[in-house]
Amino acid sequence: MKEIYKEYFRGNLPHIWCSGCGNGIVMSAWARAMDQLQLDKNQCVGVSGIGCSSRITGYLDINTLHTAHGRALPFATGVKMAKPEMHVFVFSGDGDCAAIGGNHFIHACRRDMDMTLIVFNNHIYGMTGGQFSPLTPFGKKSTTSPYGTVDPDFDLCKLAIGAGASFVARGDIFHAKQLTDLIVEAHNHPGFAVIEVMATCPISYGRHNKIPKPADMVNYLKENTVSKVRADKMTPEEVADKIVVGILHQHEPLEYTKEYAKLVKRLQGGEK
């Protein structure tokens, strides 16, 4: 096994994910990003909610907190507030983050604490056997939308930008090298960094929507993604059906823990 996997994983493999699940590709990208970042593992915390992707924390050789459904961000907020010097990575799924954790998500964007949120968007509740989520595209089939969903879906990145996150990016598992770079940039951004990762679930999503082969799902992403740079030069009609990847938004954050530290300093007489 590659050295970086030995360095950043705990060795309790194989993981629980199904054959062809895209989650492992995200986990691999995270390890490569960690290899670039060269952080002290003792000062890194991984926080996740509930669902397939949230099981990632069990495999990462850092401090890990596998929490309750939808609640990873509040736990992470507590960790970061308590120890602002720690590097906090939050792992969530589309159901975990956008449905049950939706309120926590927008408030984490608003607070803009310096942490990295990686959302594994495979368009489905995998752990419970394939029900549609708020990120399932309109019309797609699932075990609770056997005739196709009539629920409109969120654009998670627009939601994050609207709620105030200072770094918002979208990646996908086909562009694995770019995904690694996005994780590095998200970590290095000094505010709340959201990466929506277009991932794949061949078993619970692909099979219901006529793309059962893992490789076909990966190739779908290859063919239907366009970079932000290219998308900016395309007409709205041309971009409409495409998945735009890259850094979609970035601004200078008013980072929460730094502002809090300033308040403490002022109250303690250190700064007038």
Binding site: K2, L13, P14, W17, C21, G24, A29, A176, P214, A215
Partner: protein, 69 residues
């Protein structure tokens, strides 16, 4: 200049036979076992692009530059 060569290995124990490396490899380095797991049947064709390594969801494919023979 001689073509740069690579060693490609698949850790069979971890492979879940998803077929992603087989399908994505641009130079057809991989074949499949009877169980559908990846096996390396043409390592000499490898160009070292690492597509297989980065897309293996089970961390079982590894590409390393071959030492000069």
């Amino acid at each position: 200049m001689a073509k740069k060569l690579y060693n490609v290995t698949v850790q069979e124990k971890l492979c879940k036979a998803c077929g992603i490396c087989i399908a994505l490899c641009p130079t057809k380095v991989f074949g499949a076992t009877a169980e559908g797991k990846a096996n390396v049947n043409n390592a000499d064709a490898c160009t070292g692009c690492l597509t297989c390594e980065m897309h293996c969801p089970d961390f079982c494919v590894e590409v390393e530059a071959r030492e000069n023979e």
